[in-house]
């Protein structure tokens, strides 16, 4: 696995990385095992189809409502949080978000950060940035910790170390944690991780976390986890900084109720996770623990581009459950690292073009069979295949064409040669005469069908037209028109 990226690699190398992953038997086994496991667990949670579908309807309506009112809700959230004593920061870009976090640390003379799981912090590459400024960031989610020790990035948004097996972790721990003998006993490995991180929680000056939902009505950050590291990160250090994509706000506290049910059941097939951690303020007078300062960084980083387009806006309904990747035949074959982006799998393919531009992420929308397994399981009903097709159109569009809601990197996959192919194709198929001629040629000249057909014959025998087309056969039969 170490041949996979340590740092962000632009998705231009997507094909190459995919090929590498396909050749890695161990990796494919890891993903297959994990996906079968997660699929079965999700299925068990949703045995009542009617309940599932009605809950998905509700979840989708709640997210749509939140997006329809996004600017108002963000302002309300800010008001409520501020009244509760939580400081709100706005970041248009990854660089701004990083600078805000650094500034908070510097003002508190902080040097050590303990991190709960946060994909937004991965997205802005916070660890790297803070590291460059002399700060020490330690991941505390077991999966993230493993990935950090390995010098890698998460390969899944819910289970970051899904690509690693016990033996990999055993080796890593033996190598990186003093006095740790090699063992593949998972309980022992977890206890080793726990011991190694305990001290870090105590010493940390700042705790950083993501946010699953922010409630505008009450000014509450709702965090979901199993391990307790999220609670420790947001409770023990004197300062807590939360980062969230600005779309994660919902209007009402009770709107979270169906969403958490959908989230935990879709993500890991759990009816509930061990902890729901609802943070509404820093330590109040008279309280004995909890951070003295709590900050929330609201991150745009390209989300407003998706927001601007009525169809693409639905991308932002996502609640980051990861079910789409757990069910994706492509993700299951190539794993998360091949995508080269923070968010892999189907959600990554529809989100990354906004975060990175089609010039960097333009390959991703094409790397799908459009089978629809993702949208079938998506708890908030994001029509992922439709969005992929739309993004394909935007990537192919003439870069100079003016459109109502232009996307960054429009036309990055525009190819004059391919345009010609499709023009020829549409010319042939839109004209009955041309199609008849083509049929005639293909069936009569079938003996000359090439044995090598671009891409196809790498894994298949060549396609050969039949001696007579259906048109011919039915004409002979005297079929009425």
């Amino acid at each position: 696995m170490s041949k996979h990226p340590m740092q962000f690699v632009p998705s231009a190398d997507f094909k190459e990385r995919a090929r590498g992953a396909l050749d890695d038997d161990k990796l494919r086994k890891s993903f297959r095992g994990a996906m079968d496991f997660l699929q079965a667990k999700r299925r068990n949670q949703f045995s009542d189809e009617e309940e599932r579908e009605s809950l998905r309807d509700l979840g989708s309506a709640i997210r749509k409502y939140a997006l329809a009112n996004l600017p108002d809700l963000l302002e309300q959230l800010e008001r409520k949080l501020t009244a509760n004593g939580i400081q709100v920061h706005w970041a248009e870009t990854a660089a701004e978000a990083n600078a805000i976090v650094l500034d908070i640390m510097q003002r508190n003379a902080a040097r050590r950060m303990i991190k709960g799981k946060s994909m937004a912090s991965e997205e802005i590459e916070l660890n790297h940035y803070l590291g460059e400024h002399g700060m020490e960031c330690v991941e505390s989610d077991m999966g993230e910790y493993i990935v950090q020790l390995a010098g890698e990035k998460p390969s899944h948004i819910v289970m970051p170390a899904i690509h690693k097996n016990k033996a990999d972790v055993a080796k890593l721990f033996e190598e990186h944690i003093p006095d740790t003998p090699y063992t593949e006993d998972v309980d022992e490995l977890i206890q080793t991780g726990r011991r190694a991180l305990r001290q870090r929680f105590m010493e940390a000056d700042v705790g950083l976390s993501g946010v699953n939902f922010a409630v505008a009505e009450t000014g509450t950050l709702w965090l979901i986890e199993n391990e307790g590291n999220g609670r420790l990160s947001t409770t023990v250090p004197p300062v807590h900084v939360a980062i969230m994509g600005m779309e994660k706000v919902v209007a009402k506290l009770d709107h979270v109720v169906p969403l958490v049910s959908l989230l935990t059941r879709s993500a890991t097939g759990q009816a509930v996770t061990t902890y729901f951690n609802l943070i509404s303020s820093p330590r109040r007078p008279g309280e004995l623990d909890g951070p003295r300062e709590v900050h929330l960084v609201l991150l745009d980083n390209g989300r407003s581009q998706a927001y601007a387009d009525e169809q693409l806006r639905s991308t932002l309904q996502c609640i980051r459950c990861g079910a789409c990747m757990n069910h994706c035949p492509v993700y299951g074959r190539i794993g998360g690292h091949a995508y080269g982006t923070t968010y892999p799998g189907p959600i990554g393919k529809i989100l990354s073009p906004h975060l990175l531009g089609l010039d960097e992420a333009g390959d991703l929308p094409f790397a799908s069979t459009l089978c629809g397994a993702c949208s079938e399981v998506c708890p908030v009903r994001i029509p992922i295949p439709d969005l992929l097709i739309r993004l394909r159109n935007e990537a192919k569009r003439n870069p100079n064409e003016t459109v109502a809601t232009p996307l960054r990197g429009q036309g990055a996959k525009h190819s004059a040669a391919e345009r010609v192919v499709w023009q020829f194709w549409s010319g042939a198929f839109k004209s009955p005469k041309a199609w008849a001629a083509l049929r005639w040629g293909a069936t009569r000249l079938r003996a000359f069908t090439p044995g090598a057909q671009a891409g196809w014959t790498q894994h298949r025998t060549p396609l050969k037209p039949a001696p007579r087309s259906l048109h011919d056969l039915l004409k002979d039969k005297g079929q009425p028109e």
Binding site: A373, S426, K464
Partner: protein, 256 residues
């Protein structure tokens, strides 16, 4: 996918043959005609038809797709059902034509009106024609079923395929591992990402072969060609038969 209501059995239908069947598996089209005629329906085949436009649509060239789709839309003048012996093409016409022409003052309403008349073959046979296959050949036969993903999700073809096969005496459908998983075809995906596509179809071939059935039945020519040629490439004895052809085969010798 919405649950749809079905019309009573009509006297006339249109067949939309699809370009893949037209060129590569015309017998499937002929068998589809035969199955509908067996029920006393007169089948019309407008000779000017070609393709539903799906290849360009899914490749991100909506303009090219519209050109081709538009050329089909005026061919079905009578208010008869349009039967498509390929689920994903049926899905294109039923689900995506309305989206493709949304906002088009002429073709938009046309696409919507056409969409409700489009049926996948097995769906049409099971829900509208309701044939009696009880006198078909009865000797036991085990097959696997593969449904195209988009068709299953847009048209519910898995259910229709299973019901149709269940109405045939002696036919047992053996479920394969991860039956609902994609075969890796994905239209131009198979050409654009041959490695990934190849890995997916390899697993599909293995899982069908794992049932011990040498044959799988499908109502989708793209998937069928993909899986069959991939099996052949590796010398694995698995081959696909189109649903229409399989049903005809089971009806062969039936006293008329």
């Amino acid at each position: 996918m919405q649950t749809r209501t079905y019309p009573p059995k009509p006297s006339n239908v249109y067949l939309f043959g699809t370009c893949l069947i037209d060129l590569f598996v015309p017998q499937a089209g002929m068998d589809a005609v035969r199955l509908m005629e067996r029920e006393g329906v007169s089948v019309h085949f407008p000779q000017d038809q070609s393709c539903c436009g799906q290849p360009a649509y899914t490749s991100g060239d909506a303009e090219a797709a519209r050109k081709v789709a538009r050329a089909q839309m005026d061919l079905f003048k009578q208010d008869w059902p349009i039967v498509v012996p390929s689920g994903s093409c049926g899905g294109m016409m039923h689900e995506h034509w309305p989206k493709l022409f949304a906002g088009d003052p002429v073709y938009g309403p046309k696409a919507v009106a056409l969409a409700v008349r489009v049926f996948e073959l097995a769906e049409f046979i099971v829900n509208v024609l309701r044939p009696d296959y009880s006198r078909a050949r009865a000797e036991p036969c085990k097959v696997a079923l593969h449904t195209s993903c988009s068709a299953r999700r847009e048209m519910g073809t898995r259910g229709h395929g299973l019901s149709l096969l269940a109405s045939l005496p002696g036919v047992e459908v053996v479920e394969h591992v991860r039956e609902s998983e994609c075969c890796g075809f994905g239209g131009t995906f198979s050409l654009r990402h041959p490695d990934i596509s190849g890995a997916i179809v390899r697993d599909k071939v293995d899982s069908i072969a794992g049932t011990g059935c040498q044959r799988f039945i499908t109502a989708d020519c793209g998937c069928m060609l993909n899986i069959s040629t991939a099996a052949q490439h590796r010398g694995v004895g698995v081959a696909g038969t189109h649903m229409a052809s399989f049903v005809c085969e089971r009806l062969a010798g039936e006293s008329a």
